[in-house]
Symmetry: C2
Subunit: 318 residues, 2 copies
C-alpha cells in the first residue's frame, strides 16, 4: 500500500479517539520541531487542559522508572488513562539514554490505556521548555487523565520538571547521602509529595524522619498543602496505592484553592517566553545577512567595544 499524506487535523482526531500510532506520530512532529509544529500546537489547543500533569524526580538510583511503572499500574487499576513522558534534559542525544527505562516499562506496552514516550532535549536554549509542553499537550488531548513526567535528576532538571508539572513528586531512597539530599533545598522546595522508595532497606525510617523535620520546619500559610512523606517498595508495589491517592488529593487541593490555575499560568508564561526567545535568537543569526554578529564579535575581540555594548547593539537592530 502506498502511504498517504496525513493531515494534522486528521492525526489529532485519531489521537483523540485513542489511536496510539497517531499519538506517537504527533509527539514525533513536536519533538523534531518540524514545520508542522505550529499547526499541531494550534490543532491541539482546544482539546487540552484536562490531564493532571505529575512530575517525578529524584537522584539516579532511587528507583524512578520502577516507581513510574508501579504508579502506572495503580492508576490503571483505577481505570484512569495514563501517559508517561520520560525526559533526559542532559542528553543531547535522543533515545539511547533512556533505553533501560523503556525496557522496565515494557509490562505496559500492550495496554492501550497507557502511552509511553522517551524524549531527549535537543540543543540548549529552552530545549526542555520548548518541546516537552507540546508533547504533554498531545498526551492531554489524547485523553490521558494523568500524565507522569519522569526526569533523570541532575541539578537544574529537577527544578525544570517541577515547572512542567501540576504536582511534583520527589523520590528518595534510604542511605543515599541523606544529609546532602536534605541540604538540597531546591528539591525540598519543589516537592508536593515525598516518597522514600526502597523502604524495605535499612534507614528508611530515619530518612523519613529527617525529611519530616525539614519539611515541617518550612513556614507555610494557613490552608497551604502539607507535603506528605510516604514509604514505598516500588518493586513489590507496596505503598504505591497511597501515592496514587495522595496525587489525587493534591489535585483536589490545587483545584479548590485556585492554585492549579496559578501554576498553569506561570508555566504557560515560561513556555511563551522560551518560544519567543528562540525566535529572537533566530532573528539575531540572520541580522544584516548573517554578518551582524560576526562584526560585533570581531569588534569585541579587538577591544573596540565590550560584549555588553555589542549585545545592546544587537537588540537595537532587531
Amino acid at each position: 500500500m502506498a502511504s498517504r499524506a496525513v493531515s494534522v487535523a486528521d492525526l489529532v482526531e485519531r489521537a483523540r479517539a485513542g489511536e496510539a500510532r497517531a499519538v506517537a506520530r504527533l509527539i514525533s512532529l513536536v519533538e523534531d520541531q518540524s514545520s508542522k509544529l505550529r499547526e499541531v500546537s494550534a490543532a491541539l489547543m482546544p482539546h487540552t487542559g484536562k490531564a493532571h500533569i505529575v512530575g517525578l524526580t529524584g537522584a539516579p538510583g532511587v528507583g524512578k522508572s520502577t516507581s513510574t511503572s508501579a504508579l502506572v499500574k495503580a492508576l490503571r487499576a483505577q481505570g484512569r488513562r495514563v501517559g508517561v513522558l520520560a525526559v533526559d534534559p542532559t542528553s543531547p542525544f535522543s533515545g539511547g539514554a533512556l533505553l533501560g527505562d523503556r525496557i522496565r516499562m515494557q509490562e505496559h506496552a500492550t495496554d492501550d490505556g497507557v502511552y509511553i514516550r522517551s524524549m531527549a532535549s535537543r540543543g540548549h536554549l529552552g530545549g526542555l521548555s520548548v518541546a516537552a509542553p507540546q508533547a504533554l499537550r498531545v498526551l492531554d488531548a489524547a485523553g490521558c487523565d494523568v500524565v507522569l513526567v519522569e526526569t533523570v535528576g541532575v541539578g537544574q532538571s529537577e527544578v525544570e520538571i517541577s515547572g512542567l508539572a501540576d504536582t511534583t513528586l520527589v523520590l528518595l531512597a534510604p542511605g543515599m547521602g541523606d544529609g546532602i539530599q536534605a541540604a538540597k533545598a531546591g528539591i525540598l522546595e519543589i516537592g508536593d509529595i515525598f516518597v522514600v522508595n526502597k523502604a524495605d532497606r535499612e534507614g528508611a525510617q530515619s530518612t523519613r524522619r529527617e525529611l519530616r523535620s525539614v519539611v515541617t520546619m518550612t513556614d507555610r500559610p494557613d490552608g497551604a498543602w502539607k507535603p506528605p512523606i510516604l514509604l514505598t517498595v516500588a518493586t513489590s508495589g507496596e505503598g504505591v496505592d497511597e501515592v496514587a491517592s495522595e496525587i489525587a488529593q493534591h489535585h483536589d487541593h490545587l483545584v479548590t484553592t485556585g492554585e492549579l490555575d496559578r501554576r498553569r499560568l506561570a508555566r504557560t508564561r515560561r513556555e511563551i517566553e522560551a518560544l519567543a526567545l528562540t525566535s529572537v535568537r533566530d532573528r539575531f543569526a540572520h541580522l544584516s545577512g548573517d554578518t551582524r554578529l560576526d562584526t560585533l564579535a570581531a569588534d569585541v575581540l579587538t577591544g573596540a567595544i565590550d560584549p555588553y555594548a555589542a549585545a545592546d547593539s544587537l537588540v537595537e537592530n532587531l
Copy 2:
C-alpha cells in the same frame, strides 16, 4: 580603619599588578551580576586576549581536580602564571558543591602565581555563558598565561566548556564504562587532547587503544590537529609534563593556523548572543507594565491562541 569605596578602574589596576584580593573582588562583581558588571567588562577589555584558555572535562571520578592541580604544578614549574576557574553548571547553588575540589587545590593556596576560583552558574538561561567569560577576562587581565577551566562533567556542560576554551582536554579513566564513553561522540568531537588518567590501573592501555581507534577514524583535513592520547597518574604527577607540553603545542598550532582567532570569534558571538537574549528576556518581563506575558498566558490557557502565536505577539511588541 573605615573601608573606602574602591573604583572599578582602581581594582583593575591592582588586579593587573597581581593583587589577589583585587582579582577575587572583580570575579565576585561579575559573578554577582552587580550593577558594576558593564563597567568592569569595559575596563577589562583593553587588557585581555593574552591568556590561553584550557578547558578540562570528563566524567565524575576520572580525577579532574587532581589533574588540574598537577597541571598547575607543572605549569608553575615552567614559571607560567596560572588561573583556575572551577565551574559547576548544574548547581544552582554557589560554593558548596565544589568545596572538595577547593580543598584538593589547597597546595597552591600560598602561591601568588596562581589564582583559584569556584563558580556556580546561577539561573538557567545563559548562566554559564554569561558569567564565565567575564571571570575568564578577569584572570586574563590579571596576567595569567594559562587559565584552566574545570567543569563537573554531566551531559551538556562538557560541550559548553569546550565553547569557553581555546583548547579542550578530555579526561578519561580506565574501566569506567569505556564502551559508553567512546559512544559519547560529543566528548570525542570536542577533545583537542585526550588524557587517560589513573594509568597505573588495569585497562589503561586498552582504553587508550579504544580511544585511538575512534580518534583516528575521524576524517580530518590535511594539516589538521591530530588529538594526542596521553597517559597520566595525576596523583604522582606521572605524565603531566607531557600534557603541559601538548597544551603548549596545541596553542602554537592554533596560532599558526589562524584557528585561535576563529574559535575566539565563535565564542564571542555566542557570548554576545547570550547577553542579548538575557536583555530581551528582561524586556519581555516588563512589557506593558509587566502584564503582557500574563495576558498572553491566560489566552493560551483558555485555548484562544496557541503558544506560538503568543510568542510571536510578544516579539512583535518588543
